[in-house]
Symmetry: C2
Subunit: 173 residues, 2 copies
């Protein structure tokens, strides 16, 4: 059986997604490929058998993780590493712990950089475009909170877009 590309993400509230999309539609060429999200685990390949194991692990991880709150106050950029501008999710132990658990044991390691929880609002721009966009957004202040009670396993289609495969609710329901 062939492999698919999978990823794991949190979709924040509609309010936060709408705010992110108001920027993404202008500044993110991948705007249409996936709703606004916090990546918990970067893209990885898995066979049907492997994803079955991983799904069991995700059931376990979800069950042992309590729902939690996140906060967004400002915009930041990964420049000069990449020209990605993002809504910065304030440091959060639960997000960090989820990310770590999804890159050990039965999970393939699929992470290039240290984990920085974020919601991308601009990427793949030229150096000049990035400077303009980040320059105009770096002064923005937000006061956004959200209560996170689930994460999602997704797979990628040929056109690069993502389809949700399964929802994992946090805590013992």
């Amino acid at each position: 059986m062939s492999t698919l590309n999978y990823g794991i993400a949190v979709f924040p509230s509609k309010e936060i997604q709408d705010i992110a999309n108001s920027y993404r539609k202008r500044y993110d060429p991948r705007y249409n490929k996936i709703p606004p999200h916090i990546t918990l685990k970067e893209r990885f390949e898995a066979t049907p058998d492997e994803i079955k194991d991983i799904t069991s692990e995700l059931d376990r991880i979800a069950a042992e993780t309590n729902p939690f709150d996140i906060e967004i106050k400002k915009v930041s950029s990964f420049s000069p590493v990449t020209n990605t501008v993002y809504l910065k999710v304030e440091p959060n132990d639960t997000l960090t712990s989820l990310n770590q658990k999804m890159n050990e044991g039965k999970f393939p390691v699929s992470q290039q950089f240290a984990f920085v929880p974020h919601i991308t609002i601009s990427q793949d721009l030229s150096e000049d475009e990035h400077s303009d966009v980040y320059g105009s957004m770096r002064m923005l202040e937000f006061d956004l909170q959200d209560h996170i009670d689930r994460f999602q396993l997704l797979y990628q289609l040929e056109d690069g877009s993502w389809t949700v495969y399964e929802t994992f609710k946090l805590g013992r329901n």
Copy 2:
């Protein structure tokens, strides 16, 4: 609390989604708003309290429904009612029963027409464009099967795109 727009859909296999997208990217202006899908329940509004009740109902419906197979052999059109061209999902008792259960009891009725399971590949075209597209696709023959073991509850963002809220797995797991 404010209401959101919700919908309920089945996402078929990546293979079928990729085939649908090869047409959608050319002929469906809503291509980027949601992955290829079979709608089980048309868009409806619900408050947070209402969606909690509906989610419980969906848990019950999913548990009492066994996974099932679908088949796609041809393209059809809803013309002259609408100019929607679709991959016709062969008549299927389980899909019909799911659709019926999602339009009775605690569910708002959100259906304008008789239920015809389908995967849209073209819509919102002019009369002439529709004739061209449907004329070139009506002779296509497919031999696609898929095993359906879940459905998804989605909500709509301001830009018209859809985010998955929850996955419901069929049968008692």
